[in-house]
Subunit: 146 residues, 2 copies
Amino acid sequence: MRLTRAGEYAVRCMIYLSHKGVGVLVSKQEIAERADIPTHFLAKIAQDLARAHLIEIRQGPKGGYSLLKDPAEVSLLEVVEVMIGEIYLNDCVGRPETCPASKRCAVHKVWEDARDQLRETLAGVSFAQLSEKESCIPVFPVHKKG
Amino acid sequence: MRLTRAGEYAVRCMIYLSHKGVGVLVSKQEIAERADIPTHFLAKIAQDLARAHLIEIRQGPKGGYSLLKDPAEVSLLEVVEVMIGEIYLNDCVGRPETCPASKRCAVHKVWEDARDQLRETLAGVSFAQLSEKESCIPVFPVHKKG
DNA sequence: ATATATGAGATATTAAATATCTTATTTATC
DNA sequence: GATAAATAAGATATTTAATATCTCATATAT
């Protein structure tokens, strides 16, 4: 019951892009290095984020990724669920058809409440908020030696 | 980010035993059939529950499992965490040493809050409450044909 | 045209969850 | 005590998901 690496990497990628601002093109290499994400894995994650219209991908020389939406309009929940699908905590919540009693089941109700609460918490945090504050992603540009 | 089968099965087993009451011996077969748990898997789960002093295991003929603690004193969180370990939702919460920034990290803080909230919700529900109400586990004894 | 940078899908690799099997141990009953 | 019944404990598949990487294709600045 933990967030996957893909989810964690997607969040880091989005924070890094939020620091840069909407529409600012950043190379895959730069993001991978600064946010500590395996390059090829980042490529896959970026595809998911692009499909969800959160970022735009630019190919070719000087290509890279850029933020499509205002970070104030993007929640932590949104990014996480793009990567891992809708959170439901227990199978009986996500797939009620697997449990005939779910409508009347006391256990089901607890998990449903817990799920709703968790999703609300994550929905209440925007990438604007996250990028304003300190996080595990370095804020200031790192200059190469020489 | 979902509860494992082992966790779900443990909850079902505990509800079934809660219906019976503290100290009432119930055979593994009966629990497996009524709570719809693969027999051998139940054996493994029962070992974990016994190690956590939630149930007692009796070997030999007329052996089986019985509840050790008052169901009012056992929370959903306790049973779930016996099976899957402490819930932490994100690696950076469970293993802060993997993220040097965790103390100051805004993302970390959100996950920590979400984790605390989830654990509180699950801690607030006892097996007495769960077994009083309808659930996915049948309450009344089923008599064999003939 | 060429070189650069990423896309998209395929293919390992690793780890975890799930399920089952085998041998050993406990205990009620005769 | 011997026997049979019931579970223990650990080992061993099996399956599924997560993680990571590779290859060929595509887009684009110069």
